[in-house]
Subunit: 195 residues, 2 copies
Amino acid sequence: MAKKGISRDVVLTKAVEMIERTGTPVLSMRELAEELKIKTPSLYNHVKGVNDLLADVSRYAAEELRKKLLMAIAGKNGDDALNALAGAYRNFAKEHIGLYKVTNSVSALPKTVSVEIGTLISEPIFLVLSQYGLDEEQSIHWQRVLRSIIHGFLSQEEAGFFQHCPLSVEASYQVAVHCYIEGLHTEARGYHNVG
Amino acid sequence: MAKKGISRDVVLTKAVEMIERTGTPVLSMRELAEELKIKTPSLYNHVKGVNDLLADVSRYAAEELRKKLLMAIAGKNGDDALNALAGAYRNFAKEHIGLYKVTNSVSALPKTVSVEIGTLISEPIFLVLSQYGLDEEQSIHWQRVLRSIIHGFLSQEEAGFFQHCPLSVEASYQVAVHCYIEGLHTEARGYHNVG
DNA sequence: GCAAAAAACTAATGCCATTAGCATCATAAT
DNA sequence: ATTATGATGCTAATGGCATTAGTTTTTTGC
């Protein structure tokens, strides 16, 4: 009873599918095996364990998010690009809540993986910020701030903290992003003007 | 072999102690029992289960954080109060990283508990914002934004996303908070001036 | 065709939370 | 003082989980 056409890639794909479906960043080897119609221990022919697998899923999720961010800012400049990036980030969280959560549950992962994920996501941000004429230190500060705002907002929204109040969450997000852009302009003005 | 002086409160206290010590928001009934020098099933005489206990720990953590925020803003106004609140929030996360994480891992909790926790933490923020003369909608938006910035920053810092870059994390936090205050002033100016 | 590697299986280990049922002790009522 | 009751502890058992060991079967490379 061998050869069911299962490879590391097939396992990874199924894991992603399950996380997308359930919307939670947790994986069960048992359920994974069940869906692949094999017994649980057979999974270990393809992956080292559940953490190994989760690391791969995290990498995949970060790459997907990165792609969306890059696509969103392609051909745009300045505030347009920033707004597009913020919108794409939120869309990703809305459409792929499970994957989004995975990118933020890096605490359990080896540090090398979390650094890798951090870089994948911060690069599109640096790309946009590069048009504001900040020096290197300021770029890093403002990259941190943008990620904080976006991730902070999305994770609180996802946690349901905004639910018990009828006020538009989208509008709040606009306020947050607009606040950031204003602050960024004020900072950039200290160096030289930006269009 | 009965009566070891264990009550629900003693269990809760030990749970908090363990979470503080390990810095992670997870509880093991086995380890908890071991530290209390009883057998695991005996815990069930005092708590319904691990989720029940975690809900209580979350409540406790939120109350502690709330106290710190209220103390920080006591007697302060406007930007002073905002800066103090932001500083106290970060101090709490630094000094009680486990408890801080618990307040943010509400996903697993019943919604009633997460709403309760959300309210405990948002009230000090509304208190500070009330001095800026915003209308009710704007207050809610800006409360959401402040929590997003603070929580987003602290959770990314905690996740180690800022570690691989030598630039001062404290300075980045100042940039974030300053950006928020600037934006808030711009918004408030639309209504009337604030001192 | 055959040897070796790959991939599936069964069986077993050990961790965990939780439940059931029993024993013991403190206390309050008789 | 004695006895009933309830609270608190225990042991034993269940069932879920990830993981490992060892075996069998199939594919693949020569």
